[in-house]
Symmetry: C2
């Protein structure tokens, strides 16, 4: 039996990955700090604070998962780049991994980040691109990966490390790029953007979740980029949002300066992901942005819409960089 424990089961990726794991034949257990009524059926939920070592021990002993998909982390918008919580989550993740091994675990997939790389113009490649993180978030994920991979070799377990690039989709924080621009346009308001010439790899969150499920169900190990492999400019992304809403006039490119740290290009080589799994993205940029816009339209209509934030360009890259 394949039994997986998914951490961060109610998170941005986590909520989209559970069904796919059930379809792949996993008995799916998921953790969240708070499990609300109406959480996804067919899933065994465990309410646990992963920074509480004692509680983690109990859950791992109880579940004895063969597989671990560790998505949980501190992700507070704006704060996560440099918060001390990153340090706490390195410790919590190492404890989780030790308990996973102790309870008989065999294979883990852990969420990493493109912020581990030294951002450069080339397509970032697992086997060759320099790993030189410049934020506490990137340093923390990188350090966790280093220890996890060295531990895995001696402990006889497999670990794959999914480096996430730029995601968008339903439930994204409203201050980030796609939600912010989408909501401005839906309200008939001008979305003030930077020059839009930055090149990025964008992936719909359900595709990212599919990639994580496929990676967990494969035998690929080590770092693996989780991305579409398609380079687009921010201008193309926001232009597409304006076009599908029928309001290209509301896309105000060049109206605000770029963030202090906002590299020209952050794109992924996805050969390893494509060779190691049969996963391929299902959304095009246009279909993904349409689906996301529909979700925001329903969300705004429901009266539960989150409060507006000041800036209209999302928190795409690090605000605070280690010297």
């Amino acid at each position: 039996v394949k039994r997986v424990l998914v951490t961060g089961g109610t998170g941005f990726i986590g909520r989209n990955v559970l069904g796919g794991l059930v379809e792949r034949g996993f008995e799916v257990h998921a953790t969240s700090r708070v499990v609300k009524d109406g959480a996804e059926p067919g899933i065994r939920w465990h309410e646990v604070d992963l920074t509480d070592e004692g509680a983690v021990k109990v859950v791992l002993k109880q579940v004895s998962p063969t597989h671990l998909l560790h998505l949980a982390w501190y992700v507070e918008h704006g704060a996560f780049w440099s918060s001390a919580e990153n340090v706490r989550w390195v410790a919590a993740s190492l404890n989780l991994l030790l308990r996973f091994r102790e309870s008989g675990g065999k294979r883990a997939v852990i969420a990493g980040t493109c912020a581990e790389y030294q951002w450069s113009h080339e397509d970032l490649t697992e086997s060759s691109s320099p790993v030189v993180p410049s934020t506490l978030y990137g340093v923390s994920k990188d350090a966790l990966r280093r220890v996890a991979m060295a531990f895995a070799e001696g402990a006889g377990i497999e670990i794959a490390w999914g480096r996430i690039f730029f995601l968008y989709g339903p439930h994204e924080h409203p201050a980030r790029l796609v939600p912010s621009v989408t909501r401005h346009v839906l309200r008939g308001e001008l979305a003030r953007c930077s020059d839009g010439e930055q090149v990025r790899d964008f992936l719909h969150v359900r595709d990212a979740a599919g990639a994580f499920a496929a990676l967990l169900d494969s035998s690929t190990t080590g770092a693996v980029n989780i991305a579409s492999g398609v380079a687009v400019t921010i201008g193309e992304v926001v232009g597409t949002i304006g076009r599908i809403a029928g309001r290209p006039d509301l896309i105000g490119l060049g109206r605000i300066p770029r963030a202090p740290v906002d590299p020209d290009r952050i794109c992924a080589n996805v050969e390893k992901l494509f060779e190691g799994t049969s996963w391929r993205p299902e959304f095009s940029l246009e279909s993904g942005l349409r689906e996301t816009m529909e979700w925001w339209r329903r969300e705004e209509g429901s009266g539960d819409a989150p409060a507006e934030t000041g800036a209209s360009e999302g928190d795409m890259t690090a605000r605070s960089v280690i010297k």
Copy 2:
């Protein structure tokens, strides 16, 4: 007031550092899992398991140290290179550092290792030598350092990282090189050694403790080699032991093969330590080995001598290396 918490206060370095810190005007608190009667006077002892997060929180709140000297780690002879305990100690050390900061801490010195470096023929230098650890122990210390240094910058605290090379002196594990050869010679038994051509940097543990105290009391930050700066061969070390015992005939060089991983040269550039502190080693190799031999003579005579171990050459380098 300068108030320091020393972890591993009863360990190999820790037991030698406390008095020097008192002399430097610190109010000295020390932790150990077990504090025996007769532990050093003038020191405030705290019995605590540092892998118990709750207990660490209590002690740090109680002591509110301005300084932290973190020497504790898993050091089980032979096992420490590849034990999963290294992973636990990364987590424990990160929790300790967070609690230190929360309780108002300003400056920490943490024990690192020469095993963080890629071992090579050049003198290993903090600012230029490649950091490519090849053991779980080295990877774990390296990862802790990466997170600690990035955290320190954002948290407004200072951290220096003391990379320990090859130490010897009283209370060293009897299976290691200097104790093993010393005890064989004291008993009139042949000490079987390898070819002895390996070049190392040896430092008496009391000198290492002095270097740590000086580093803590300085404003130097980042990685700092803790070493003598003097390169000697293993042959010179064991030859000196034979000579000062008056039994050079008992030094059997070339009688056993080298360990599978036993680099030709592991030596330190000590410019940064010498520039950042006024510390200089007090022992020469000969005076240090004499002092150590006297200690073993008393120890063996006391009837409390540890049981003999098989090999006569100590565990100098990693037995288990990450591929």
